[in-house]
């Protein structure tokens, strides 16, 4: 049985409630049930502004459900959360104005060009008309996609599609960017390139990045803080270095993952999770 909240840093695990302005995300007993199944169970945590925050855990741990609630795709069964200072239950449109989201699946439209995808996003998010073209050009340049801007996205490589999706989600300069498994299905070179883009985004725009991942190397290299989820609850949270050190001098983040989640192959999501993951991987080529 994994250890639970006693391993948490209390300052980060419990929202203060009085100073939400310095926190990008703050959950308050956030819960989601599917019938008898409790996918997210009275979760309390905070993600500080400007951080790259990693959410880790086996399939079925509740990470994607949590992200869906924080991005207002799914209403909570109980509790709430503040995202960029806005309540996800009472003011979901204000939340949506303040965030960017890159789904685990491929959300770029393959039947449109990169420029068209970006243009549609700019209009949906209300990027000022006078700035639209410049903002799109900058996004394409930032992601090194200018040379293929007019090509239909269905002819792109997996890495290029991910870069485009991140560019789309950043056009309106959101306070917080949610990335659900941003490098799943990508080869190592494409992964490195996407990681660099994520670092650059934080550097240039000061965006808070909250990402889920199964890739321990990704979490170790990118995230200042990681939180391990298991059975809908937070099992541990802290910096990768602190969590590794607590386990032993030679411990890897993978060891920390196994220690706190105790995941076995019999756990880990359902048929739908597996189908979605394989579909995304196949489409990324």
């Amino acid at each position: 049985m994994p250890e639970t909240t006693d391993k948490l840093n209390p300052a980060q695990a419990e929202p203060s409630g009085s100073d939400s302005g310095s926190n990008a995300v703050e959950t308050r007993s956030l819960t989601r049930r599917y019938g008898e199944l409790v996918a997210v169970d009275h979760l309390n945590f905070v993600c500080p502004s400007g951080a790259i925050f990693g959410l880790l855990g086996p399939n079925g741990a509740g990470k994607s459900t949590l992200i869906k609630m924080l991005t207002t795709l799914l209403p909570p069964s109980e509790g709430t959360a503040l995202v960029a200072g806005h309540d996800i239950v009472h003011d979901p449109r204000a939340v949506r104005r303040s965030i960017g989201y890159v789904s685990q699946m491929l959300s770029a439209d393959g039947d449109l060009s990169a420029y068209e995808n970006l243009s549609i996003s700019a209009k949906l998010y209300g990027v000022p008309r006078a700035e639209r073209a410049a903002r799109i050009e900058h996004a394409l340049e930032f992601m090194d996609l200018s040379h293929v801007a007019g090509k239909l996205v269905k002819h792109y490589s997996g890495g290029m599609i991910r870069k485009l999706e991140i560019a789309q989600s950043m056009l309106h300069r959101p306070h917080i960017l949610f990335l659900d498994e941003p490098t799943v299905g990508l080869d190592p070179i494409a992964k490195q390139s996407v990681w660099q883009n994520i670092r650059d985004l934080r550097e240039e725009f000061g965006t808070t990045i909250l990402m889920t991942t199964h890739d321990m190397q990704e979490a170790d290299e990118l995230c200042e803080t990681v939180a391990f989820m298991h059975s809908g609850q937070l099992a541990a949270m802290g910096s990768p270095a602190t969590l590794k050190l607590a386990l032993g001098a030679d411990a890897s983040l993978g060891d920390v993952f196994i220690h706190y989640t105790g995941a076995t192959i019999s756990e880990g999501g359902d048929f739908r999770d597996a189908a979605r993951l394989r579909s995304t991987t196949r489409r990324l080529g």
Binding site: G85, R93, V127, H172, R283
Partner: protein, 273 residues
């Protein structure tokens, strides 16, 4: 409460009331219309069916003279019905694209945007009307080749465009609702097949209401296709008449559309759950 996230970094304020809603609705429609421009093949493949109906069914029944048409050739009588059928068959399967885009993750992108659910649904309905108007142009070309007696005065043409657009909007929104309920492509295809033929045959598309048995005539009164065909028959062909009256036809189509938009915008977010 004053907090550090008072406003998004890079978005504009509304310059007139409803500006944001209009922009978002048109953006959703634009995405689909651009796809149609990139690959218009679907429009031409959809023309096979009306061509067969008019060339075979229309020509044969014109010779038989078995159906009372109010003094106009049968092929003229059925042409508005075939246009409405073509719009119906295109729009009723529109919902499958929503399921497909849900499976790809594209719907999630729209749902996390600040666009209202009404804008998302209305935008899709508008894009379906653009397809329908393209289909209308092709049916007109076919009808001209077959020497059907069409009206070309601007008011009639404008009325045909409005009737075609309203019909497409009604049936595509109905299709979106079905997609939000059944959620799987296989089930949706089954539902689509079950719906199309009853909607078509329980309407005045290829025979007048007066020929129907009482129970079918009663059913056809609840079928929006009957009102679309009724309006088209009056506006499209020389000598065509309306049974219900044009104002009532447009009132029913407009009312059905408003009701369906309200239902679809409630159901739309549930497609991903």
């Amino acid at each position: 409460m004053q907090h550090a996230y008072a406003a998004p970094h890079g978005v504009s304020a509304e310059t007139f009331p409803g500006e944001e809603f209009t922009r978002q609705t048109l953006a959703v429609a634009e995405a689909d219309i651009r796809k149609l421009i990139h690959d218009p093949v679907e429009l031409f493949t959809r023309m096979v069916q009306p061509a067969l109906w008019l060339l075979i069914f229309g020509e044969v029944f014109t010779r038989i003279r078995a159906i009372p048409t109010g003094g106009i050739p049968y092929i003229d009588f059925m042409t508005p019905g075939i246009l409405a059928q073509n719009v119906l068959f295109g729009a009723i399967f529109y919902g499958i694209s929503l399921i497909w885009e849900r499976d790809l993750g594209i719907v999630h992108k729209y749902l996390v945007s600040p666009a209202s659910r009404v804008a998302l649904v209305l935008g899709r309905a508008i894009s379906s009307t653009a397809r329908a108007v393209c289909q209308m142009v092709l049916v007109y070309i076919l009808a001209i080749i077959l020497r059907i007696h069409l009206r070309f005065d601007p008011l009639s043409l404008a009325g045909v465009v409005v009737a075609v657009m309203l019909g497409a909007a009604v049936f595509s929104t109905f299709s979106l609702i079905a997609a939000c309920i059944v959620k799987s492509r296989d089930r949706f295809m089954g539902i689509g097949q079950v719906l199309t033929m009853p909607l078509f045959f329980a309407s005045n598309a290829i025979y007048p209401l007066s020929m129907m048995p009482g129970w079918l005539r009663a059913f056809s009164r609840f079928n929006p296709l009957s009102y679309q065909v009724d309006a088209l028959r009056r506006l499209m062909v020389v000598g065509g008449t309306s049974s219900f009256g044009l104002p009532f036809d447009f009132f029913v189509l407009g009312g059905a559309f408003a009701l369906l938009i309200a239902i679809a915008s409630r159901l739309y977010p549930k497609i991903i759950i």
